[in-house]
Symmetry: C2
Subunit: 350 residues, 2 copies
């Protein structure tokens, strides 16, 4: 296939977690979805949708959503760029910033799609290993001298949240030479966030999504928060109409319904504490989590066996084959009932 | 902004046509939308949408839509790759195939986004001028020796459709050395299409969209039809979940409702013939069109004046500032009533 670039032919694609059919009777705790349904306000948008809005092209920067997100974050709309999920925003960053001869750095283990993005653009990759506690390696990341540094905060699969002050220190260290992208996909479940940083540092871009906190993984809406001069460059590489009319309006409705989101998030956070305590009681090591999932190590490190035994019982959790994760499991927080079924099944497995 | 690649900083972004608000009283004939509403079957999908499908991640290759589109075209699902509009598929092709030192060719004037795509990847651009009749310059395109050749068929802004035999001749001339992408965004309105070519030529990829024939520009669904080994490479550069659950199911419902689409298309084609005759009667040169729009030249070439006079009357059509289009206008086919209002307004302007 001489039609494709050599680096594309050579690379392996990103593989997402298993997706059983909606009808299948499975307890799905493998891809960090929110266990609670989306805001009724978002569902009402779908029910009452005006066909005229489908017949026509949507607004090229999803204006209605953009204004809502800006209001929620207390910034001007020009500081927000909506995307078809935050994965699309990551692709836009890769297209606009990554290149052969340019360097991309991030700490590992983290969201493996960062590596895919770098491979798509044949960029030079620097992977800094996290320590056992998943502390942010600020100095090592700064020393990598990358054009773009990516930090997931909270990180996946560890659940670790990083304080804004720590991220600010990294932004300072990279100032004038490197962009810091803070991927806050799970920030709705965290104790704090870094959305104030773009106002203070000209090299910081925040990514958010409605897939987790807002229970809208199927809708595909994410957004970047950054200085307008950064977003203007990103806009040059985006699809012409990258956010459809339905996601634009349904996501805006969901974001206006902050009370609903906060209630769902509070339930997830309470369940997370309970599940962590129960698994620790069973002898698991549980990493401190500020997200809607837990990274855990079974008492004997027999992670794969538990993953398979649970799968046979209709409970899907995430197992990563590669070290240093191959003795650990990532478990999304479900409803109280689902978490109880999980603990019961694990107890039978041990 | 040292964070961005030099070619991104240097380029100017693609500018889409004007989009007045849905509430504004405007006759909108500037961006080639279908004047008829989407299939009631697509609207029913929205009304009855299951929130569980929004809570969860969608299928990574929009399986339900993929199977429907494959059935409509009589190919296996592996021959279809759905995208967030065909603009996303074009971006995927650019990401997978375009590069510094690689060549992209197309005839001009055409969809100006092709140039944007090449600029995003700093690819070498060969623009072959169309003649006055917009005949396909098969030999010149073949001689360009490009890694990827793009042909919009029907072409925009000319409306010209190219016979499959002619496109096959170009595919043959490029065989073994270049990919031929046939962008069939307007093929639903054409006398014929080239969807049989991927089965016959290993270097052909067809792009389709639901934005035009299916009246679903706001939904954002397009797809590629090509050999699985080509689509597998494209898949490496796509967003993880690039088609949302709503567009997947609504587009599948619209595609299953072929009768509805055919009725809408037949009305547009009949209106196109009538409008062409009326404008010719007013002294306009009208290019033969197989699309849902007409490229026309006013009697005295005073295109800009007519565009502005119509805009003042609340009728939007498309005017392109650059030669050789600056004495021409592109007019989307509206409803019978809208077309009559347009002709009346033009008559008053002349």
């Amino acid at each position: 296939m001489c039609f494709f670039r050599d680096n594309i032919k050579a690379m392996t694609p990103y593989v997402p977690g298993e997706q059983p059919g909606v009808g299948e009777r499975v307890i799905k705790l493998n891809t960090n979805e929110n266990p609670y349904p989306p805001s009724p306000a978002a569902m009402a948008v779908l029910r009452e949708f005006d066909g005229e809005r489908l017949r026509r092209y949507p607004h090229p920067v999803a204006d209605a959503f953009r204004r809502t997100a800006a209001e929620v974050h207390g910034v001007d709309p020009e500081w927000v760029l909506p995307g078809n999920g935050s994965d699309e925003l990551l692709l836009m960053i890769a297209n606009a910033c990554f290149d052969r001869g340019r360097r991309v750095a991030y700490a590992v283990p983290t969201f493996t799609f960062y590596r895919t993005l770098a491979e798509i653009q044949a960029a030079e990759i620097v992977e800094v290993p996290y320590d056992e506690q998943f502390s942010l390696p600020v100095d090592e990341l700064a020393d990598a001298g990358a054009d773009v540094t990516l930090v997931a905060s909270p990180n996946s699969p560890s659940g670790t949240g990083y304080a804004a002050a720590e991220l600010a220190r990294l932004a300072d260290a990279l100032a004038g030479r490197g962009l810091l992208v803070i991927d806050e996909a799970y920030a709705d479940f965290a104790d704090s966030d870094a959305t104030a940083l773009p106002g203070l540092h000209e090299n910081v871009m925040i990514l958010r999504t409605l897939s987790k906190g807002y229970s809208l993984a199927g809708l595909r809406v994410g957004y970047a928060v950054a200085r307008p001069e950064l977003l203007e460059e990103l806009m040059k590489v985006k699809g012409i109409y990258n956010v459809g009319a339905v996601p634009c309006l349904a996501a805006a409705a969901a974001m206006r319904d902050q009370d609903y989101k906060k209630r769902c998030v509070a339930q997830v956070v309470a369940s997370r504490r309970k599940l962590a305590a129960e698994l620790e009681h069973l002898g698991f090591r549980v990493w401190p989590s500020e997200s809607n999932f837990l990274l855990v190590r079974p008492p004997d490190g027999r992670a794969k066996g538990i993953y398979e035994a649970l799968k046979a019982r209709g409970i899907l959790i995430r197992y990563f084959r590669q070290p240093p994760l191959d003795d650990k499991l990532r478990i999304s927080i479900g409803t109280g009932e689902q978490n109880a079924a999980l603990v019961e099944a694990i107890r039978e497995t041990l």
